[in-house]
Symmetry: C2
Subunit: 139 residues, 2 copies
DNA sequence: AGGCAATCTTGATCGATTCCAGAAAAGGTG
DNA sequence: CACCTTTTCTGGAATCGATCAAGATTGCCT
């Protein structure tokens, strides 16, 4: 059982309920931080056939609706996650690209204030920790 | 006059001194946070003709040698800057993509410690502030 | 000056993402 | 429950940033 019913989540967000959308939501639930290819493969396993564009469109719709969040570490294709309510950050492995969540110490965004904002109106501070994951360290 | 003589900087880093490299260094000095296309155009203005690969090779060589730093905000092509000694961060405009430097409050890296590192060995905390720049705010 | 090795040129290739036009389907309405 | 409008999905092609490959050049050390 999923933490949130995909159908209900879509309706609550004012989005139409379709096969590809449910499949993508379930794929995201099963594979946090998955890239589009992984999501597309999982969705196709569930539905039989889903076009690449449908996956991209769905992911964009979910991002716009606030149901999913797009994260894009440098040197990696876009990845998506369902955790959107809290303001958390990520650790990325320099070797294998694995991603893990890191809770924000502050909890509200922006959780950091720049020393000099240069006149920018800042609404978010995105933190990416770079390092090496346990698997790659031991190898 | 440049803060650092490109020729000397290249020699100090153990790199060969070539036309394209000097042109790229000067382009970076004149255009902080420039993307590869801007750098290539500036280099061609200075030299007459420089191949795209030369620009990419030079940028990689400079990054590897520690003379330049590659930054890659989500949704934007790779950009490069010469400030490498300090540990500073960036503000990115959501509208026009402009980038400005923000000094790090701590100064040493990693300047932040994650609350739970999940066993990762972390060596850097990269902070990206997202907002709207003065120009885009007034429009 | 001589020679090795790194570097630059031209051209092709690749992966991720988006554009396009048309077919299909979801959801509100009578 | 059938109909209609609007959104969404399909299939194919195209774009964009970045990289690879092979050969010609050139910088640098002896």
């Amino acid at each position: 059982m999923l933490p949130v019913d995909p159908t209900q989540a879509l309706r609550d967000a004012g989005l139409r309920v379709t096969g590809p959308r449910i499949a993508v939501l379930e794929a995201l639930s099963a594979h946090p931080h998955a890239d589009t290819d992984t999501i597309a493969t999982a969705a196709r396993t569930a539905l039989g056939a889903v076009s690449t564009q449908a996956v991209y469109d769905v992911l964009r719709a979910l991002s716009d609706a606030g149901l999913a969040r797009r994260i894009e570490p440098a040197g990696s294709p876009a990845r998506f996650e369902l955790r959107v309510g809290d303001n958390h950050h990520h650790v990325v492995c320099r070797v294998c690209g694995a991603i893990a969540d890191v809770d924000c110490a502050v909890g509200e965004r922006p959780c950091l204030d720049p020393s000099d904002s240069h006149g920018f109106v800042i609404d978010e501070a995105e933190v990416t920790y770079w390092g090496v994951c346990p698997d790659c360290t031991s190898t």
